[in-house]
């Protein structure tokens, strides 16, 4: 039987990373880009994209490559010695629209994997265009990247893409896309919001080793922790479910269709509200027995204030600190190197109330004690 060759898409954001070296903390917007170039910034994105592509050169006859014209992909593929089919041609000055259009065109082309080179802004554009409908993977070229959809380095991105195209790794998982407020960043404040989830390949381990117990896998670990939360749910009580993949696992355990990005409210195993806003939540929980269920968001480890603002300071006050249930996998805590979890409700008093230590449900009858700090410094 003859199977068609896998298709790889490539989109390079040529201006990503432009602002970093010259201290502009990002590259969003034509103004910032012009300023960066005036300061002598050199675009790093194309060279890093080439570096990733060089890792694919060894299997270049095993896949078909689709890209965009000029600096949005073709130049990088040429530098890496790969042949590619151009499916969009953006012209000299490229914008976020070009990225989005290209991503949609790639999805239309039926690519098995879309490689994109850029930063958080690029990840948002990809998400806006294709959501989690296709598998994607980021080649990091931006300034410090907060989104989880990126490999650790261009070389690592190339290797993972090669493995995925050869079928050596088939699993994918949801990776956070973060929305960074660059204006705040320039003022020294990090304000990263959960924007969405992209589906990226999961790296398969080569060996487990004699001493390692079998790796439960993040999905299974999340399901077990979720089952523990469900097991302890009390009848008649309202549960305000924050966004995230681990809280989604709780909804799956309840066999309810919640929103990955939004806040849902559950009671007695039924969905009371879907994608609720702050007021709707307050109307439901005021004066009643209620708990808030949240997980850890983003590479910085936020509990509150980054994508779950509907669970506001008011809601926390109403529900009470002792009724906050945090659920997360050990792998998530490990990936944060067990740094303190962060809260930013916008209300200093409530933030202070939440500081200290909190128990996080990590499995069946298993909890981790985590420190909760203030704003990230």
């Amino acid at each position: 039987m003859c199977t068609p060759r896998p298709k790889l898409g490539l989109i390079v954001n040529p201006v990503a990373g432009l602002g970093g070296a010259v201290g502009l903390k990002g590259s969003d917007g034509v103004d910032t880009q012009e300023k960066a170039l005036a300061l002598g910034a050199v675009p790093l994105s194309p060279a890093r994209a080439t570096r990733a592509l060089e890792r694919l050169a060894k299997i270049k006859d095993l896949f078909d490559l689709f890209t965009c014209g000029g600096r949005m992909g073709l130049e990088a593929t040429r530098s890496a010695g790969l042949a590619a089919t151009v499916i969009t041609d953006p012209g000299d000055v490229t914008t976020a629209d070009d990225t989005r259009n290209a991503a949609q065109a790639m999805a239309g082309q039926g690519v098995d994997l879309l490689l994109f080179a850029g930063g958080d802004g690029t990840a948002r554009d990809i998400y806006d265009a294709v959501g989690d409908s296709i598998s994607v993977l980021g080649i990091p070229t931006g300034v410090k990247i907060y989104s989880g959809a990126y490999a650790v380095s261009p070389a690592a991105a190339g290797e993972l893409a090669a493995d995925f195209l050869q079928g050596k790794t088939k699993e994918t998982h949801d990776a956070e896309v973060m929305d960074i407020d660059e204006a705040s960043l320039r003022q020294g404040r990090v304000s990263a919001q959960l924007y969405g989830y992209l589906r990226i390949p999961r790296r398969r381990r080569l060996t487990q080793g004699v001493k390692a117990s079998s790796d439960a896998g993040e999905a299974v670990a999340a399901a077990v922790a979720a089952a523990d939360v469900v097991h302890d749910m009390k009848p008649g009580r309202y549960y305000v479910m924050g966004p995230g993949t681990t809280t989604r696992a709780v909804m799956s355990e309840l066999k309810l269709e919640g929103t990955l990005m939004g806040v849902d409210v559950v009671r007695d195993g039924k969905l009371e509200a879907r994608d609720a806003g702050e007021q709707q939540i307050l109307d439901l929980v005021a004066g009643r027995d209620a708990s808030v269920v949240v997980t850890v968001i983003g590479g910085q480890g936020y509990l509150l204030g980054r994508g779950n603002q509907q669970i506001s300071a008011k809601v926390i006050r109403e529900v009470g600190r002792e009724n906050i249930i945090v659920v997360a996998t050990r792998a998530k805590l490990n990936s944060l190197q067990w740094r303190p979890l962060l809260v930013d409700t916008g209300d200093d008093e409530v933030d202070a109330l939440l500081s200290g230590y909190i128990r996080v449900v990590t499995g069946h009858d298993e909890q981790a004690v985590c420190k909760v700090g203030g704003l990230e410094v």
Partner: protein, 525 residues
């Protein structure tokens, strides 16, 4: 005439071995079976005896008689010998290679002279059900070894019954439960606190024993976070299970504070000393205030790891908890040794009989051959070797040792190749597989990883400086190859019996079988 001694070094550094391992492509032993082929032919029973005795099988109870002969392969002796020796050539282990890569396992030398002792008929032909008066020697060894462990740890009583470290941890969780039950707090104290860098068995065994597990995070220095303990401890805490030093190799100097706080809250403290190789004769669990501790005889005390056993996790407790130890224990009165089964508050049995006699004999021989001074020297050399190793490994670009930067470690270090991975896209596991092309192995870490791209190395006292240098040179060469030729690493190994294993098949039960019988059932599906 060539001077072959000069071919091993260049510029003072050892040259890499031109290693290649045997690859026999050996079938499963059942495939070698040939009907009616035998390794031993039993002599015929003489007629006179047969007439007198009759059929001995008549004495077997009906329900214990086999319906069919056992499905063993039929092979003669030389074929069996060749088969297993060939398989042994395809493995790595403490008898073959510089086995410092199996950090936390303490792969030290198991003296072969002790094998002579353990395998002599005086030891090996004993039966655990023999009357006490006929096995005074082995009971004396067990009792005497217990006295040694008491001195090493400061504890009051030991049981040799747990068949592994995990079994000892499970036993201690059971003792903790019994202790609280007898004080009427069995129901209310349902939590065990442990730490993120403790051995996973600490959490797992306490979990199996029915406890809710609470894990403390590390602080920024890598020590367990004391404030987190303050937040977590309550009247629901039954016990605190900790390892020290933890897998990172960092010794927590404030360990006593942890114990004191636990005691103030009515909880017991268990010290996981599975690996005590860096602290023998230097620090004791009793001085830190612990109520229970254990030692893996197959780690610190030199008994062989075997093929995952037989092993022994000697469990020590304070006098107050001695009543709960597994039954039987070895008692001595007026120079007569006996097994004491009269222990109404014991937690029962956690292993077969009174322990693995073979393991205890070897461990006792090791301790006696070194003496107290010798054991302390072993610990000091292990620590020295580890810190020498630390310095050399950190000279390799891309290697780091997270936490406690600039500080000395005890007996092992958990390194990280994160920088190298960022630069080259090559992961720690891939480096380890390629290192096997030079006849060594290394272990990454427990899962899930905390330290990224980990490598956990423990030199012990059993390797020479030349051997440690050779291992470092192998790591250096492989790390350099990751930069120069990452594809070569990723396609390795090249000189080992097996190439890469397709892990996808592990998830499909129809693609694997762990017994021949299971294979027979599955193969036609």
């Amino acid at each position: 005439m060539r001077d072959i001694t000069k071919e091993r070094f260049a510029d003072g550094k050892p040259l890499l071995r031109r290693y290649h391992q045997a690859r026999w492509d050996e079938p499963i032993v059942f495939e070698l079976s040939s009907k009616d082929e035998r390794g031993i032919l039993l002599p015929e029973v003489e007629k006179g005896i047969r007439d007198k005795v009759g059929d001995v099988l008549d004495a077997l109870p009906e329900g214990m008689r086999r319906e069919r002969p056992p499905a063993l392969p039929e092979i003669s002796q030389p074929q069996v010998l060749r088969h297993y020796v060939r398989l042994s050539q395809q493995t790595l282990g403490a008898d073959f290679n510089i086995d410092v890569g199996q950090g936390t396992c303490t792969m030290k030398y198991s003296p072969k002279v002790h094998e002579d002792l353990a395998r002599s008929p005086h030891a090996a032909c004993l039966h655990p059900y023999q009357p006490d008066e006929t096995v005074q020697g082995v009971l004396e060894i067990m009792y005497s070894f217990e006295q040694i462990l008491k001195e090493v740890s400061g504890m009051d009583r030991f049981s040799m019954q747990p068949g592994a470290g995990s079994a000892a941890i499970y036993a201690s969780a059971s003792i903790i439960r019994k202790y609280h039950e007898m004080r009427g707090e069995g129901d209310t104290r349902d939590e065990i606190i442990t730490t993120s860098f403790s051995h996973p068995s600490d959490a797992a065994c306490a979990k199996v024993a029915g406890y809710n597990i609470v894990t403390l995070p590390p602080d920024k220095d890598g020590y367990p976070d004391f404030e987190a303990l303050e937040a977590a401890i309550s009247e629901r805490t039954a016990g605190l299970l900790m390892t020290n030093p933890e897998d990172t190799g960092i010794f927590n100097p404030d360990i006593k504070d942890f114990v004191d706080l636990a005691h103030e809250n009515g909880a017991l403290c268990f010290y996981d000393q599975a690996n005590a190789n860096g602290i023998l004769g230097i620090t004791r669990s009793r001085e830190a205030g612990f109520d229970l501790c254990h030692f893996n005889l197959h780690k610190t005390f030199s008994t062989p790891h075997g093929c995952g056993g037989p092993a022994a996790g000697a469990l020590g407790v304070t006098e107050e908890l001695a009543q709960f130890l597994p039954t039987p224990v070895v008692a001595c009165e007026d120079g007569i040794y006996r097994l004491d089964y009269d222990r109404p508050n014991s937690i029962g049995k956690v292993g077969a009989f009174h322990g693995s006699a073979g393991c205890v004999i070897r461990a006792y021989a090791w301790a006696m051959s070194l003496g107290a001074d010798g054991m302390k020297t072993a610990a000091e050399v292990a620590v020295l070797n580890n810190n020498y190793f630390l310095k050399k490994v950190l000279e390799i670009p891309g290697a780091s040792a997270p936490y406690a930067s600039g500080k000395y470690r005890i007996e092992q270090v958990r390194y990280s190749w994160e920088e190298l991975t960022k630069d080259t896209g090559v992961h720690s596991e891939e480096l380890g597989v390629r290192a096997a092309d030079y006849g060594v192995h290394y272990w990454t870490s427990h899962h899930p990883f905390v330290i990224p791209e980990p490598m956990t190395l423990e030199p012990t006292e059993s390797y020479t400086r030349a051997e440690l240098d050779e291992y470092v040179e192998i790591l250096r060469a492989v790390a350099q190859e990751a930069r120069d030729n990452p594809d070569k690493i990723k396609k390795g190994p090249y000189n080992c019996p097996i190439h890469q294993v397709n892990h996808d098949e592990f998830d499909d039960p129809n693609k694997w079988a762990i017994t021949w019988r299971a294979y027979q059932k599955k193969k036609d599906k």
